[in-house]
Amino acid sequence: MNILRFLFWKAVLLLIVLVGVTTLMFFLTRATGDPAVLMSPPEASDAVIEATRQRLGLDRPLLVQFWETLVNTFTLDWGSSYALGSEVRPLVMDRLVPSLSLVVPALVLAAALAGVIGTYAALHQADVRGRFLMGAAFVLDGIPYFLIALVLVLVLAIQMGVLPATGGDGGVALVIPIAVLTIQGFATLSRLTRGQLIDSLSQGPVTMAKSKGLPARTVLFQHAVPLALPPLIAYLGILFSFMIGSLLILESMLNYPGLGQLLVRAVNQRDFPIVQAAVIVIAVLITLVNIVMDTIVRVLDPRLRTKVS
C-alpha cells in the first residue's frame, strides 16, 4: 500500500518533469532565435519567411502554440527536423539505445569495481595497499573524463593500434567510451563506498553484530554493508545523470552515434525540434533512473517504508 503511494508520487514527479522541461524548452527556443527565419533559406525575403511562419503555425497566439507543444510531447509527436526534414521521433529514439549501451554497462562496471575496491580499501584503511588504491582513485577523480578519453585513444588506438580511434563497428566502438565512463564513475564511487563503509563499521549496529560473536564475514556483508548501501544506491542515480552529461562531449569526440552527439549537432544547427525532443528524452531517462534507485533504497530500508509519527 505504502509503496503504491510512493510510486504514485514518483509518477507525479515524472509528470512535473515532463511539463517543466517542455515549458522550458518551448520558451528557450523562442527566446534564442526565430524558428521561421532559421527554417527559411539564408537569403529569403520577408514574404518567404512569413510564409514559413504560417506553415509552421508560428503566427498563432503563443498560448495556442504552447498547448500544442505540450500535447505533442505527451503524444510523442515531436515534429520534423528543421535541418533534415525527417521526423524527429525515430531520429531521437534510434540514438537512445547506442547511448544506453554505453551508460548502462559503465554504471554496472563502475558499481561492481567500486564495491570491491572500496570495500577492500575500507577494510585496509591503514595499510599501504588501501591507501594506494584510494590515492589512485583520488587522482583519477581529478582528471577530466575527456582527457581520459584522449589518453585511451592515444594509447589504444594510435600507439597500440588495437582499436579504431573513432567509430568502428559493433562492439569495438563501445570499448573506449565505456572505459572512460567506468573510470570516471569508479573514481568517485569507490571513494564514497570506502567512506560509507568505514562510517558504518563504527556504528552501533555493527559493534552489536560483532558483540554477538558473528563471523567477520557475516558482520561485514549482513550488517555493515546494508547500513552503508542506501546512500550509495542513491548516488548511482546521480552518477547516471553525470554519465549522460559526459556523453555530449564524449560521443562528439569519438564520433559515436548516440543521443549526445545528436544533441550537440542539433544545438549547433539550431535544429530546435531535435533539441527539444532529445532534452525531454534525457530528462525523462534521468528521472526514471532516479525513481528506480529511490525505490530500491526504500525497499531496502524499512525506516522509509513505515511512516514514523
Binding site: 554477538k212 567477520a216 550488517h223 546494508p226
Partner: protein
C-alpha cells in the same frame, strides 16, 4: 521462570557454563584522533568475582563505557590497549579471532549504551534475536531459536512477543528496545553480562523491573554481571561491589554496602550526596565544576580542582589506589585517606 530459558539442551553448551572471574589489571586505553591520540583509561584495575554483580559508577565521561567495551575487545578501530584483561585464566587481548568469537557468542554478552543506535535498523527484531541465539548455539534450528526468542521476550516483559518479532527497531519505544537488547543477550545464555547504562532509556517502573530481572538472573542462574551506570540508585540493591571511576581512573572500589555507608574518596562522597534518591525527575548528577579534559589531566589528583579538601600535595602527587580495609579489599585513591583521615568521618 528461569527454566524457560533452557528449553533445548544442546551439545557444546555445557563446557562454558562455569562463569569466569573477570579482571582488569592496570588497563590503559588510547584512542587515535585526528588531533593526536587521546588516552581515556589510565591504569584501571578491578576484579569481578564469578557470579557477582559489579557496578562501574561515575559521571558521564569517566570511562565506564570504554572499560566495559574493553572487556569484550570491542573498542573502536585503532584503539590501543595496555595492561591485562582476564576472563578466567584467559587473556582477552591474546585470544585468537576464533576464540574471541566464541567468547563473545557463547560466554560474554554486552548490552550497549544507546538502545536507539544498537539494533540494526534494517533488520526485524526477530531476525536479530534469532541470529543472536544461533550465534551462541549453532545447533538450534530456526524454529527453536524463534521459540527461544519468544520465551526470552516474555521474560523481559515485552508484551505480545510473537507479533513483535516482525517489528523493526524504529517502530519500538526506547524502553522496548532496551528490553530487546537484554533479550538479545539472554538468548545466548551467557555466563557474563556487561550492561552499559541499561536503564537510561527506561521510565522508573520499567527501570525497577529490569533491575529486578538482572538480580534474578544473577541469583538464579549465577550470571556474572558488570553494570556501568551514572545512577547510584540503580546500584544500591543490585551490585555486590562498586567501582567508582573518575577521569579514566578508579578512585574507589569495595563492597557496595561498605562504600555507600562509608565512602572514602571525596568524589564518591559527592556522588552519593547528589544522587537523586527521592528526586527521580532530575537524574543528572550535579557536582560543582566539571571533570578535567582527558588530554589535559593535572599532574596530581584529577579531582583536586573540584575537591573541598584539596591541599598543596594533592596538586602535585597523584594518589595510588591503596587498601583501606583488608578483608573486604576496599580501596581508594586519596592522599587524605592515606594519611589516615577518613573523609566521611570528617564530613559528618
Amino acid at each position: 521462570m528461569a527454566s524457560t530459558l533452557t528449553p533445548t539442551p544442546s551439545p557444546g553448551r555445557v563446557a562454558h557454563r562455569v562463569p569466569p572471574a573477570v579482571s582488569l589489571e592496570d588497563v590503559t586505553v588510547t584512542l587515535p584522533r585526528a588531533s593526536g591520540d587521546l588516552q581515556i583509561l589510565h591504569g584501571v584495575s578491578f576484579k569481578v568475582p564469578a557470579g557477582s554483580v559489579v557496578a562501574l559508577a561515575g559521571e558521564s565521561g569517566s570511562g565506564k563505557s570504554t572499560a566495559a567495551l574493553s572487556l569484550m575487545r570491542l573498542l573502536p578501530w585503532g584503539a590501543e590497549v595496555g595492561g591485562r584483561i582476564m576472563a578466567g585464566d584467559r587473556d582477552v587481548a591474546a585470544m585468537s579471532k576464533e576464540e574471541l568469537r566464541l567468547f563473545r557468542s557463547k560466554e560474554a554478552r554486552i548490552i550497549l549504551q544507546d538502545p536507539w543506535s544498537s539494533l540494526h535498523p534494517m533488520k526485524s527484531v526477530g531476525s536479530q534475536l534469532i541470529e543472536s541465539a544461533r550465534a551462541s548455539d549453532p545447533a538450534l534450528s530456526k524454529a527453536q531459536a524463534r521459540e527461544l526468542a519468544v520465551e526470552t521476550m516474555k521474560r523481559v516483559h515485552i508484551p505480545d512477543p510473537k507479533s513483535r518479532l516482525k517489528a523493526y527497531p524504529h517502530e519500538m519505544s526506547g524502553g522496548q528496545l532496551q528490553r530487546v537488547l537484554i533479550a538479545m543477550a539472554l538468548v545466548a545464555r551467557p555466563t557474563l553480562l556487561v550492561c552499559d547504562e541499561p536503564t537510561t532509556a527506561l521510565d522508573v517502573s520499567t527501570q525497577a523491573q529490569i533491575l529486578e530481572l538482572l538480580r534474578e538472573l544473577n541469583r538464579e542462574m549465577g550470571l556474572t554481571i558488570v553494570i556501568a551506570t551514572h545512577d547510584l540508585d540503580v546500584i544500591a540493591g543490585l551490585a555486590d561491589r562498586l567501582v567508582v571511576m573518575y577521569a579514566g581512573r578508579v578512585v574507589e572500589e569495595g563492597p557496595t554496602a561498605q562504600v555507600m555507608a562509608n565512602p572514602q574518596h571525596p568524589y564518591t562522597w559527592a556522588l552519593l550526596a547528589t544522587a537523586p534518591k527521592h528526586n527521580r525527575g532530575e537524574r543528572m548528577l550535579t557536582i560543582e565544576g566539571r571533570p578535567p579534559a582527558l588530554d589535559a589531566l593535572p599532574p596530581g589528583c584529577s579531582f583536586a580542582e573540584r575537591c573541598e579538601f584539596t591541599t598543596a600535595r594533592c596538586l602535585e602527587t597523584r594518589p595510588e589506589l591503596v587498601l583501606v580495609d583488608e578483608p573486604s579489599r576496599h580501596r581508594t585513591a586519596c592522599l587524605r585517606v592515606q594519611a589516615d583521615q577518613s573523609v566521611s568521618e570528617e564530613v559528618r
